[in-house]
């Protein structure tokens, strides 16, 4: 599978030379092939249908299986054909081997999510070999996978929990700059939360709620989003569903928009939680739209998302027989910190509309834009959405208000069908009435948010960001200088030799050994090894201590590199 994806991906160096024109040609070509394939599929479908009508149930299953095998074979043939044609279109470069990075088994997590549709219903079995020791006679196979996935995904977090840094009590503890948590405004938040209007209890809060969220909270959310997303018309509370966190919102959307094995497109690198959520319950695959760091004509900004890239990934996926149901966008982006311009947004949405894709847009950092020269455009602020019934917005208070412990996530969708289907999960993702009251009070307090919270929050973000970027500059480390989010995306490639994901992992472990937790590019499905995300939304003292450790690790790493190069040279 990884190879299948891999062969398609043009190594960036060659792509660059070709420019946009060739991309167009090969997009057209692939569209043609796609059409051809669809025609054949339709014919096959007719065949299957006839069988269904004539034969017994068992018979039917056998035939449909045969048909799907035939289909898969056909798909593969077409695939090879397109590959050949594609290489021709690209100037006779011949078939490219897959990206070297994708050859490494452990490195194909992207590939692991993107499973063949012919696999059984729960295609995560390979994940359990991440932690092969986890066996249990009592759990179902998916239960084992869930445990294993959890263990492997939250290893760092667990060691951190056991040995947290504390400025007085545990100065040798772990500093966690891997988690994107906003710790800059806990003082403001706790003060606001301890005011008397927060501690309120009435019968209705203790009784069974409206499973979509209490009406008073949904109304407030609609008002809040209307105001902060600058929506032309008042948003409708009936289009709001409130669940216990954005992960839950995404998980339920994946359940109701996709059948198992179907897929979403997502530009990579991206917040790894989506991969986790996609695979845990819903068994939805993610088709990665890989972005490049290197700036070229076709890629005027590092990691820039373009419609061409989206289109290419979509058509490639379709040719392999994938059913792509939607596109996931994160704006402001995590981990890049990019904020999409209004025009870009419009283009992405038009693209999705053209291919009947749902768009799930995660705006969880929308109030965490601290550079005053950058304007955030919520998708809800657009005068007319290209495809409103397929556009679904996620927001929560975890980042913008730094209260991830509240477990609060919001879905806004114009599509009542989707809202109803997601509401079926309300029972499983409900929030306490007491918490709903507090959240409502918090969102209501526009005065405090506008005059106290946001100005303070943003200026603190700015200062922390300034401190961190200065440190990185001094170390000569390239990074994306963006004005949003709680983190910086930086390139530590120069500390890796060779530049592989193994080395990236080793560097990550070296940080851990020095009690510093960062998150590495692999967890964001970045295709280039060497990128790390570092969170800066923490107190100055802690940042200082963290940067000290950071510097130490990199010095050690550099020493080792020099030694290694010396040894190599001597051996030669």
């Amino acid at each position: 599978m990884s190879h299948r994806l891999g062969t398609f991906r043009m190594p960036s160096a060659q792509m660059r030379g070709q420019g946009l024109r060739n991309q167009r040609i090969h997009t057209h070509l692939m569209e043609m092939m796609l059409h051809l394939k669809q025609t054949i599929e339709k014919n096959l479908m007719h065949l299957t249908t006839r069988h269904l009508q004539q034969d017994l149930v068992l018979e039917e299953q056998r035939h449909s299986q045969a048909a799907s095998e035939q289909e898969a074979l056909l798909g593969r043939l077409m695939y090879q054909l397109v590959n050949l044609l594609q290489s021709g279109a690209m100037g006779g470069l011949g078939l490219q081997p897959s990206c070297p990075s994708l050859d490494v088994r452990r490195d194909v997590r992207g590939g692991q999510w993107a499973q063949s549709s012919r696999q059984p219903d729960w295609p995560v079995h390979q994940l359990s070999d991440l932690e092969a020791t986890f066996v249990s006679q009592h759990l179902s196979s998916r239960g084992i996978d869930i445990s294993a996935l959890y263990h492997s995904s939250f290893q760092d977090y667990k060691i951190y929990q056991r040995d947290k840094y504390h400025e007085d009590k545990n100065t040798m503890g772990f500093i966690n700059l891997g988690l994107s948590e906003n710790k800059l405004c806990l003082d403001l938040m706790t003060e606001r939360l301890s005011q008397s209007d927060m501690n309120y209890i009435e019968d209705a809060l203790l009784q069974y709620p409206d499973w979509r969220g209490q009406p008073f909270l949904r109304e407030e959310v609609a008002r809040f989003l209307t105001y902060y997303c600058k929506v032309p018309d008042q948003l409708d509370p009936e289009n709001v569903v409130v669940l216990n966190g954005c992960s839950s919102v995404f998980s339920t959307l994946a359940m109701v928009l996709c059948d198992p094995g179907e897929a979403f497109l997502i530009p990579a690198p991206f917040y790894g939680g989506f991969a986790f959520s996609a695979c845990l319950y819903s068994k939805v695959e993610l088709i990665l739209v890989h972005l490049d760091s290197e700036v070229t004509d076709a890629n005027p900004h590092p990691f820039q998302l373009t419609v061409d890239k989206l289109e290419q990934a979509l058509l490639e996926a379709r040719l392999t027989g994938k059913k792509v149901r939607g596109l996931i966008l994160i704006n402001p982006q995590n981990p890049l910190g990019d904020v999409y311009s209004r025009d870009s947004l419009q283009e992405y949405l038009e693209f999705a509309k053209k291919y009947h894709l749902h768009v799930i847009i995660d705006e969880i950092y929308m109030l965490s834009v601290f550079d005053e020269f950058i304007t955030f455009h919520s998708v809800l602020s657009m005068e007319s959405l290209p495809d409103p019934s397929r556009t679904h917005v996620i927001w929560g208070t975890s980042k913008d208000f730094g209260i991830s412990g509240f477990r609060f996530g919001v879905l806004y969708t114009h599509n009542r069908e989707v809202a109803s289907a997601v509401s079926s999960f309300g029972y499983l993702h409900g929030i306490s009435g007491i918490a709903q009251h507090k959240l409502c009070r918090l969102l209501q307090d526009r005065e405090w948010i506008d005059k106290v919270y946001l100005p303070t929050y943003r200026s603190r973000l700015q200062i922390a960001h300034g401190y961190m970027t200065k440190k990185l500059e001094a170390l000569g480390i390239p990074f994306l200088n963006r004005g949003s989010g709680l983190y910086i995306w930086m390139n530590l490639k120069m500390y890796l030799d060779p530049c592989t994901f193994e080395e990236e992992l080793l560097l990550h472990r070296r940080f851990l050994d020095n009690k510093l937790i960062l998150s590495r590019g692999r967890t964001y499905m970045c295709k280039e090894p060497g990128w790390f995300r570092i969170t800066f939304a923490d107190k100055p003292l802690l940042l200082k201590q963290a940067m000290h450790r950071f510097y130490q690790v990199l010095s050690e790493q550099k020493q080792d590199l020099i030694m290694k190069q010396l040894e190599n040279a001597q051996r030669e």
Binding site: G143, Y208, N244, S247, C258, S420, I434
Partner: protein, 511 residues
């Protein structure tokens, strides 16, 4: 991928339809059936009929996936009774002719006590740790408190361990998580029916797990001593039948005290069921969400955690929540106790999706810690109020000559209205349910609990006196065929005193 049983006639041991959220209304499996047959790409079990494949092409107007359509069906069907109720809720002053809800199993008798007890927020110095990312299986201090609480109230022979506790946002989530980590898609749990119908939805939505009913009879036969009695023999038969039909059963769900029967299992019975499960290597999920709502002392409740030497501790998983016993269904707090570390870990792995707010966790720990208040104030008062309400409704039913089961536990009475059905069909049951709703009283009908005999209803009595009284008056009107009489709150008052005179039953004196 989800194996949904389709034709009841072909698969008599499986439950076709869900009961709604909050079992407010009655549901029929037909809607789901329709959904399935509309979506032929949805994998149905072998015994199901094949849908119309040509429908595939025509169904792509929907924005939902196949499973999404089925999932949505749960919401839409649950809405039916619930929406009607919410559009026209009874309010003493503002809407005296609104609908009285005797369908939702909620304890509305003790809000006065609870709101005083729960309200204090967390102290300032605690807030930072509570509003930030929590430990996923529940804050340590809360899990310790839960272990202490359960050790005491379940009378466990040895202290229970905090590391065996997982905390999440309600028992619904627990059912969902357990179904997911114990079963593959299409596998099943046994459950004695009638049962709290929402479980169907809980185990199905994410887990794709089905329930195989162990149907119980109202008629007392053979060695049975009471109606709807669960026996090992019935369990064995249901299991055999499921095996025969190729349904893989992985566990058994027991609700104790039972909902909707109000039954309490004796220690002997419990042990028999657990031994049965052990013989067949079945997990047992014991839902003890009403364990402190046993208001009849003589009923003698025994938690499964009180048993010396559980037959199969690694496969015994206990659930409890504050929804019922503390009348706080809106608080969303549920807990699992299991000695099986693998199961605890696997369930905790899902807590990212079923977590509850840190602040609420703090408040829960504070509440559960206060054994003095619970023992001396809350439980005695709660039990007295429940008993008074129960006595009143039981008296009303007796006066109407209606047979019922009510065994001194839970918030409900299981009422036999079979004699009011012209024909013993679920269609007639539904019609009667609608007549109640038309007369502004919401009940739950037996179909929502997968009861196999039409004509049973669950009547919730844990509400304040005036609402209870008005509700019973409306029930009576329907049964006596006088439902056209407009509601008059004043007549309720006279009715109330009338009852006191005639039946000698006093309506509960509650706030």
């Amino acid at each position: 991928m989800f194996a949904l049983p389709q034709k009841e006639s072909k698969a008599p041991t499986t439950c076709p339809g869900p009961a709604s959220t909050q079992d407010l209304d009655s549901n029929h499996g037909d809607g789901l059936e329709r959904e399935c047959s509309r979506k032929p790409d949805w994998k149905l079990p072998e015994f199901c009929g094949v849908g119309d494949p040509t429908a595939t092409a025509s169904s792509d107007s929907s924005h939902l996936s196949s499973r999404g359509s089925i999932i949505k069906w749960f919401w839409d069907s649950a809405e039916e009774g619930y929406r009607t109720y919410h559009m026209d809720e009874y309010d003493e002053d503002k809407n005296p002719s609104g609908i009285i809800n005797m369908g939702t199993s909620e304890n509305k008798l003790c809000f006065d006590l609870l709101s005083r007890r729960v309200s204090p927020g967390a102290p300032l110095e605690m807030l930072p740790s509570l509003v930030q990312c929590p430990g996923w299986r529940g804050h340590c201090s809360l899990r310790e408190e839960v272990a202490r609480f359960l050790s005491f109230y379940c009378k466990s022979p040895a202290p229970l361990k905090p590391e065996n506790v997982v905390v999440l946002n309600g028992c619904a989530s627990l059912f969902s998580a357990l179904a997911t980590v114990l079963c593959e898609v299409g596998e099943a749990f046994l459950i004695p029916a009638p049962y709290y119908g929402a479980i169907t939805q809980h185990v199905y939505l994410y887990g794709g797990v089905q329930l195989v009913c162990v149907y119980l009879d109202s008629e007392v036969t053979g060695l049975d001593t009471r109606p709807f009695q669960l026996t090992v023999e019935k369990l064995e038969m249901a299991l055999q039948r499921a095996n025969f039909e190729g349904v893989k059963v992985k566990g058994l769900i027991l609700i104790n005290p039972q909902n909707p029967l109000g039954d309490i299992y004796s220690p002997g019975e419990l042990r028999d069921y657990l031994e049965f499960a052990k013989r067949h290597k079945l997990h047992v999920m014991v839902d003890e969400v009403y364990m402190l709502s046993v208001f009849e002392k003589s009923a003698g409740y025994h938690s499964v955690l009180s048993l010396e030497g559980l037959p199969d501790p690694q496969r015994t998983h206990v659930m409890w929540a504050t929804s019922k016993d503390f009348g706080m269904s809106g608080l969303r707090f549920g807990t699992l106790y299991t000695e099986n570390r693998d199961v605890a870990t696997a369930v905790a792995s899902l807590c990212r999706y079923h977590g509850l707010s840190g602040l609420v966790q703090y408040q829960m720990a504070q509440l559960l810690r206060d054994h003095d208040w619970i023992n001396q104030v809350y439980l005695p008062e709660n039990h007295a109020r429940l008993k008074a309400a129960h006595t009143y409704v039981a008296g009303e039913l007796r006066a109407l000559g209606i047979p019922f089961l009510g065994r001194g536990a839970g918030f409900f009475i299981w009422v036999d209205l079979r004699k009011y059905l012209p024909e013993a069909t679920f269609k007639e049951e539904m019609l009667l349910w609608r007549r109640f709703l038309d007369n502004k009283v919401l009940l739950s009908c037996g179909k929502a609990f997968q009861c196999k005999e039409p004509g049973w209803f669950r009547l919730v009595f844990s509400d304040k006196a005036h609402r209870l009284c008005l509700g019973m008056q409306r029930v009576r009107q329907v049964l006596e065929g006088k439902s056209q009489v407009p509601d008059d709150p004043a007549s309720c008052q006279s009715q109330e005193s009338g009852n006191q005179r005639s039946g000698g039953e006093t309506p509960p004196a509650v706030l």
